[in-house]
């Protein structure tokens, strides 16, 4: 069988003139006619990612289209085998979603062929980082009807966009970027490591990698947006409803393309058997997807490690970022007046296992409502002095000769809890922009009886550049940092966030 090629959804201007989109719409329509308890139905596949059938609000309160069924339920054994599998907040995020896409693509292709379409049909991807207006959702998804006048299965009511006005695009003003493509190591947490950290036995998923942290998470939330009157998120903004929106699979196709491009650029996936063998290696449930015949396909990350194993490719496997002539570390050192050849920095190894130390924290849990929140993070003199020492220009050259780089400094928002995943906030430290807070998965992570035990989300921002500026302006001798968290969309009453602790960590490099 020839290698299948996944192509850009924006071909033919992202309209139904693009046959990939037209056939996708028709095949989605067929899957949507199948009942919830059919493993090859649209609804069953959405539930594999996550479902909220018995919740309120949940699947039963979703405004149509689509008309989302909540019955007939499949058998309990099918539910426990397939549903609520999605892997977030750890190193299985990329391979699980690759297998998920591959499996639904097989079902869709079979339907396309039955409908008289091309037998080599493949999922298109939405590259929101593409040129021109590709940051906007391909227009075919906003049409209420197909060219033949029938209802468009790609049209979704609860898809509100970043401004909650139905205009769907990826807002780069939220800090959404593809900087993750410049990472070189898979295993570890955002923003320096690509694929996510090991999960092991810890039940709290705080090991989000940079591909998942940005762009994956904020794109979900931006596309879903919020109902402007209630502040309730759109389908894409919640893992339990995201798979119901057909744009989901084009977003993930792009994430998969980015991972494949990252590999094509020479970056390696883990070789650890605990990754290659999947969560089964630590006694967790295995990855299963229904085949077009409805039978289970058991897969492991080792089986989806490379797209060639699955017989597909992309028409664009460029990394997506402009190659930089010097590394981030070399650029950082230039700010301190040190011009260092990158080759001299190679020995200062990038390693998730570098020592990390708490150097400051606020004193009480923080509540974030529609007005936002502010807190002072008190710095511990002992730990903060270590940061200051690593940034002293007088000793930096000496430290470099010992292969030690200035500390990385992180702002960490620990134990973020709430009910509404669609809330987005901007975060500043001493009035300097640190990043946007995107909370995809918040509701599930906050549930006491959920898999994460109610630990909430823990998100960190690299604030090294802010700390560097303080040092360069001789203002590092301080006792506290002021952190502002400001919502950029709606936080309705009852949807306030709580943050257990706002902390500062230093991480040695080298």
């Amino acid at each position: 069988m020839p290698v299948l090629t996944r192509k850009n959804a924006w071909n033919n201007n992202g309209t139904f003139s693009n046959p990939d989109l037209l056939w996708y719409a028709k095949a989605v329509g067929v899957m949507q006619t199948r009942p919830l308890n059919d493993p090859t139905s649209w609804w069953f596949y959405a539930a594999i990612h996550g479902q909220s059938i018995s919740d309120n609000p949940g699947w039963g309160t979703i405004p149509p289209p689509p008309n989302v069924p909540t019955t007939p339920l499949p058998s309990s054994s099918l539910i426990s085998q397939y549903w609520d599998q999605c892997q977030h907040g750890g190193w299985f995020f990329p391979p699980w979603h690759r297998g998920y896409l591959y499996a639904i693509e097989n079902i869709l292709r079979g339907i396309v062929a039955q409908l008289g379409g091309p037998s080599d049909w493949a999922l298109p991807y939405w590259n929101y980082f593409g040129p021109g207006n590709q940051y906007q959702m391909p227009p075919a998804f906003a049409q209420k009807t197909l060219p033949d006048g029938s209802a468009n299965p790609l049209f979704v009511n609860a898809r509100y966009g970043p401004n909650n006005d139905g205009n769907i695009f990826v807002p780069f003003s939220w800090g959404i970027n593809q900087n993750c493509q410049s990472n070189t190591v898979y295993t570890g947490r955002q923003p320096a490591f690509y694929g996510g950290n090991t999960t092991g036995f810890a039940h709290f998923a705080s090991g989000t990698g940079s591909l998942e942290g940005n762009p994956h998470n904020p794109v979900h939330v931006a596309v879903g947006g919020q109902d402007p009157t209630t502040g309730q998120g759109g389908l894409m903004g919640d893992p339990d409803t995201a798979g119901l929106d057909p744009i989901f699979y084009l977003h993930h196709c792009n994430i998969d393309r980015m991972w494949a491009s990252w590999n094509a650029a020479g970056n390696s996936n883990p070789t650890d058997p605990n990754w290659l063998n999947g969560p089964n290696a630590s006694g967790n449930r295995q990855f299963y997807m229904p085949t077009p015949a409805g039978t289970p396909w058991l897969f492991t990350p080792a089986m989806v490690n490379d797209i060639s194993q699955l017989n597909y490719t992309y028409d664009n496997l460029t990394l997506g970022i402009t190659p930089t002539l010097v590394s981030q570390n070399a650029l950082r050192l230039r700010n301190f007046g040190l011009s260092v050849d990158d080759s001299k920095l190679l020995n200062a190894k990038m390693d998730e296992n570098n020592d990390s130390e708490l150097v400051g924290a606020n004193s009480a849990p923080l509540k974030v409502d529609a007005k936002g929140a502010q807190t002072n993070v008190q710095l511990d003199s002992s730990g903060w002095n270590n940061v200051a020492k690593s940034l002293k220009t007088t000793t930096m050259a000496q430290r470099l000769s010992e292969n030690k780089l200035p500390d990385q400094v992180y702002l960490q928002l620990e134990g973020i809890k709430g009910k509404e995943d669609s809330v987005v906030c901007s975060v500043t430290v001493n009035n300097q922009y640190a990043g946007h807070l995107s909370l995809f998965g918040l509701k599930n992570a906050s549930q006491k009886d959920g898999p994460h035990g109610g630990s909430g989300l823990t998100i960190r921002f690299d604030i090294s550049s802010i700390v560097d500026k303080l040092e360069l302006s001789n203002a590092l001798d301080i006792n506290s940092l002021e952190v502002h968290i400001q919502p950029v969309n709606v936080i309705a009453d009852g949807n306030e966030l709580t943050i257990d602790r706002v902390s500062i960590y230093r991480e040695e490099q080298g």
Binding site: S206, N277, S282, Q412, D449, S455
Partner: protein, 252 residues
């Protein structure tokens, strides 16, 4: 978790090391601190005299020491992840103190419960020395408890993730409270299983090893919605099988 793998591993090794040492002590059972001795005089029936004799042969302090060692041997490995978390989220100078306070709070709860448990054990030995009936009755209760929503609730709360205060007294207070609450939920989940080996006239050590395996395994499972549910919670077993297969494949 902001803790390098080498430090996580070190914490695991230290805890397993302490646990194994105490296990060795328990299995050798010096001074019979782990088992209640009784003589045939007490078999004639419960009386003040027989209670005195039982306590003479098994001083309460010795029984509590045995109970404490049993808790340390069996339960310490369950504290690995919380201790790693405390280390990761505390100032360097606070890490050890907070860990000690957490473990003290946790063991304190088990010791308090242990006083009642030991009293029950003594009472049973007084009234029904050498009998299997108490163990059988408790075994039935333990099975019912095992599959109950209350047990699942306790297991879930045992996964509560505390974010501790960073500075001064509040950091110490949070560490000890975390330990106490972790202990409360752990007792709620495992009281019947912990008591069971103590009621067996024979096979005490084997039962203790088996119970430890069950309790560790169920602690490793992710939280679930509480409900009546026959679930053997065999994650540790699945993990060992998977790791054996991986090692076997690597060796080939």
């Amino acid at each position: 978790m902001n803790l390098p793998e080498k430090k996580r591993t070190l914490i695991s090794l230290v805890i397993f090391g302490i646990s194994i040492l105490v296990w060795i002590l328990l299995l050798f059972n010096p001074g019979h601190i782990m088992t209640v001795q009784h003589c045939h005089i007490s078999d004639s029936g419960p009386s003040a005299a027989s209670l005195r004799m039982l306590l003479q042969m098994n001083p309460f302090s010795s029984l509590m020491t045995g109970w404490g060692l049993m808790v340390v041997a069996m339960m310490l490995p369950k504290l690995i992840i919380p201790i790693q978390q405390i280390y990761a989220s505390s100032f360097k100078r606070q890490r050890f103190l907070s860990t000690i306070l957490f473990v003290s709070g946790y063991i304190g709860v088990w010791m308090l419960v242990g006083a009642f448990m030991v009293a029950i054990i003594l009472g049973i030995h007084l009234y029904m020395p050498g009998s299997y009936i108490p163990a059988i009755v408790l075994g039935v209760i333990a099975i019912i408890w095992q599959f109950s929503p209350v047990k699942q609730q306790c297991l879930n709360r045992g996964h509560d993730h505390w974010t501790l205060a960073a500075f001064g007294w509040p950091a110490c207070r949070d560490a000890i409270l975390f330990g106490i609450m972790h202990g409360v939920w752990c007792v709620g989940a495992g009281w019947a299983l912990m008591l069971l080996p103590m009621l067996l006239p024979v096979g005490h050590n084997l039962a203790m090893i088996l119970v430890t395996f069950i309790m560790l395994s169920e602690h490793l499972e992710h939280p679930q919605v509480p409900r009546w549910h026959v679930d053997f919670r065999l994650r540790l077993f699945r993990y060992l099988i998977a790791q054996t297969k991986i090692k076997f494949r690597q060796a080939l």
